[in-house]
Symmetry: C2
Subunit: 199 residues, 2 copies
């Protein structure tokens, strides 16, 4: 398969890359690194990206930022960071990418454990992750040509514990390579509309 | 209790009003109708509203628009309608309203069945409903002074079948007064972080 991986240089992205590159042709994409660059907050940037990559059998997105911070300081603008970046960025990947997927191709997006199991400072992240999971369930029934879409929802990964560990007291981290297996399941399997929890 | 009901003139809002007004002091709010007016897409409009209503024991929101339409015509701008109105409108109600709630007061927001059980044309609505449910779960652990927050997730209501029925083939509608009971459970009960499904 030809697989476009957006967010390839991140912690999850590197593990997904290692998992999939062994068996597939991988096109790596990042905001400033990888084979091609894109700003997924702008649908035109994604359209330009896919024009350059050409058609693919799978598009995987492990990219997206959200605001973490004290509830008392949460504002509309801080929530908006995640709405524009991780949420609409990934929605834009689907809206722009669908015409560049071969028949029966797949999207795999990335949410996270906070949609169900919240932490202090994580309200904006929970919101975005819940939105992505419900969006994928809905998109799965509307995509045409046999296109599929799933979401991987990882808990905090071992490789991120230095920066994210303090936010996740008592959460058992998983190795990024375990999370990467869920991306393989989505891309190489046949299911659609699923949320694959890695926790 | 003193209860502020935003969206009081809508189908759900009228039923919630009928349920709660029998036992409580109700302040009705709408974009153009009710005791007070607000545009909940603008946090400043909500801040001005709550300055006028004064403190309350509960804030209930049954308001919010989302785009319904064919998947093939879905754009970033159409998704954005629901992000700005139903999603950020209700998030703004919480961000702006928390300082106007008395200790142990509550928020009750409104999502809908599409977060879990999608329909044709409903991807943008599913996204918004999933976001609201995860946001409420997260906000519930961060609100202070014993404040609570829950979400009511109704299926299509009987009174809306003329306009929404064709979108929901095979969905068993519920009377709006049944959905209104879930708002009573949230406001007059003691739970927090819950999604009350009425389907």
């Amino acid at each position: 398969m030809k697989i476009i991986l957006i967010g390839a240089s991140g912690t999850l992205g590197r593990a997904v890359s290692a998992e999939l590159a062994a068996r597939h042709e991988l096109v790596t994409v990042g905001r400033t690194s990888g084979d091609f660059h894109t700003d997924m907050r702008e649908i035109k940037s994604l359209q330009a990206l896919f024009q350059k990559t050409g058609k693919a059998d799978a598009i995987v997105c492990t990219a997206g930022s959200v605001h973490f911070g004290p509830w008392a300081e949460l504002t509309q603008e801080k929530v908006d960071i995640g709405l524009r970046d991780k949420l609409m960025g990934q929605v834009n990947v689907v809206l722009a990418g669908q015409e560049f997927l071969n028949d029966e191709g797949s999207f795999t997006l990335t949410s996270g454990i906070l949609s169900e199991d919240p932490i202090r400072y994580g309200a904006a992240a929970s919101l975005v992750n819940g939105a992505l999971e419900s969006f994928a369930r809905a998109a799965a029934i509307e995509l045409n040509r046999g296109l599929r879409i799933n979401v991987v929802s990882p808990t905090v990964v071992e490789e991120s514990m230095t920066s994210f560990g303090p936010y996740f007291p008592g959460y058992k981290p998983v190795p990024a390579r375990d999370a990467a297996l869920a991306y393989s399941k989505s891309v190489e399997g046949k299911q659609t509309g699923q949320v694959y929890k890695v926790w």
